[in-house]
């Protein structure tokens, strides 16, 4: 896949550093992402109306849901990277997997924390051992364990191989988080997407005005595409730099 080659930093470009060294597409993408996120924030903070029952804190929902979709995409990257690495042994795929796990972990922590802040005024508690929250927390722990696995293996080949395997297994926690509301309808967490069987236990669900729907749609789209892809691309470039340093170290120390 020739596009993979484009992701690696051209060694000649290290003569210049900083933004000048970025591939043109990455420059455009980064700028577009920043602008898009800003627009999304504007929509969420000003354009969409204020919810009568919940007040201003409801606006956190736009970030909360978007962060989850972003994390989901990133973790899909980890699975794809893992599978492809095992098949082709091309290190670039493993870099993508690692980037997905790191970016995804950050986004899923964001999801968890914004959820907690939203929950405090609405449910009157920071946390509850509810099925959806529990599985979301498990998801975070799983990818933290992924990163810990990687840091615990010195041999590069073994590290990449084992990480690929664990990354593939880890997606089960993500699928569990997505599906848990279908299995356990007595969750307190509102079911927003999909056919919502009227959940009598859910607290905090809100009526979608048209403006809100548009805000949710645009924010989710941005955070599920531009944000994870841009962040992962930067992380992959960083990883390539790390590989280069390791190669240099091996060269110098073996003299």
């Amino acid at each position: 896949m020739s596009a993979i080659g484009n992701l690696s930093s051209n060694p000649n470009q290290h003569a210049r550093s900083g933004i000048a060294a970025w591939p043109p597409l990455l420059r455009i993408l980064t700028l577009a992402t920043i602008i898009a996120v800003a627009i999304g924030l504007y929509l969420g903070l000003f354009y969409s109306g204020t919810d009568i029952d919940q007040g201003q804190v409801q606006r956190l929902f736009y970030i909360h849901l978007s962060a989850f979709t972003g994390a989901f995409i990133a973790f899909c990257g980890t699975v794809l990277g893992g599978v492809q690495y095992l098949r082709t042994r091309n290190v670039q795929w493993d870099s993508i997997a690692l980037a997905g796990a790191e970016v995804g972990l950050a986004l899923s922590i964001l999801n968890l924390v914004t959820g907690m802040i939203w929950a405090r005024p609405i449910w009157n508690t920071w946390w509850t051992w509810d099925p959806r929250l529990t599985s979301a927390a498990i998801m975070c722990l799983t990818y933290a364990a992924y990163l810990m696995l990687r840091s615990g293996i010195e041999n590069a080949e073994q590290r990449r191989r084992f990480a690929s395997i664990y990354g593939i297994l880890a997606i089960t926690t993500v699928i569990l988080t997505l599906m848990i509301t279908r299995i356990r309808p007595d969750t307190i967490h509102p079911v927003v997407i999909g056919p919502s069987v009227q959940n009598p236990n859910a607290e905090g669900a809100f009526e979608f005005s048209e403006r809100m729907s548009m805000t949710i749609g645009i924010n989710s789209a941005i955070w599920s595409t531009l944000v994870p892809v841009t962040l992962m691309w930067h992380r992959v470039r960083l990883q390539n730099l790390i590989e280069r340093v390791n190669a240099l170290k091996a060269e110098v120390l073996n003299k």
Binding site: T134, A145, M148, T173
Partner: protein
């Protein structure tokens, strides 16, 4: 000429069973740990009858899971220390047969401990745990985390961090199994009508199947070279 798949798996399983019968190393350490765990829970959670009904399945499953982690670590560490991992790689057998053999062995050990715990807990907690549906849940649940446990233990035993890494890696992945098992067990022990909790064993079957397939496919990548 390659040894046929099931013959190879059976050979590995038989080796594990024979070793265990002679030394009883795994079962005694797992069993002692399990008993200690139950005692500690019994003291730590001074439960009245109502709270006990809710908590007891959690106590059972936490104990079984940690006992199985103990067993997995020992089982795979023995393989590594005796050079068996390399030997099995050199043998003309399908790599996946190794997985099947180890899996069944570890599964049987964990299941044995689980079964032994039922009468013990019945006495200690004054609740009857010896119920057919609970046995079924025990059989299904232990299979689930034995599957991922065997795969992950084979992995961790080859790393620098060794045994300490297994619980960190295994527990999140095993959680869907544990959650379903605990929910089912609690309902069964509380004599909840079957319609309310039958979904959980069904989920267990699905999750077990998914994990079995995944781990069978992935195992050949765990032992290479």
């Amino acid at each position: 000429m390659n040894t046929p798949f099931f013959q190879a798996a059976w050979a590995i399983l038989r080796k594990d069973l024979q070793t265990e019968l002679r030394s009883r190393e795994l079962l005694s350490s797992m069993g002692l740990f399990a008993l200690l765990s139950i005692f500690i829970f019994s003291f730590a959670l001074e439960l009245d009858r109502i709270a006990r009904q809710e908590a007891i399945s959690g106590v059972l499953w936490v104990t079984v899971v940690f006992a199985s982690i103990l067993g997995l670590n020992r089982s795979l560490a023995m393989e590594r220390d005796q050079g068996n991992l390399d030997a099995m790689l050199l043998a003309p057998i399908n790599r996946t047969a190794i997985f099947l053999g180890k899996l069944i062995g570890n599964y049987l050990f964990a299941l044995t401990i689980g079964l032994l715990l039922l009468p013990v807990m019945t006495v200690l907690f004054n609740m009857s745990l010896i119920q057919p549906w609970l046995l079924l849940v025990l059989v299904l649940g232990t299979l689930g985390f034995s599957t991922v446990g065997t795969l992950l233990a084979t992995m961790t035993v080859q790393t620098r961090a060794r045994e300490s890494l297994l619980p960190i890696l295994m527990l999140p992945i095993a959680l869907p199994v544990v959650i379903a098992a605990v929910k089912a067990s609690t309902s069964i022990l509380n004599n909840v009508p079957m319609g309310d909790w039958i979904a959980w064993p069904q989920i267990l079957v699905v999750v077990d199947f998914v994990y079995l397939v995944l781990c069978f496919l992935l195992f050949e990548f765990v032992i290479e070279d």
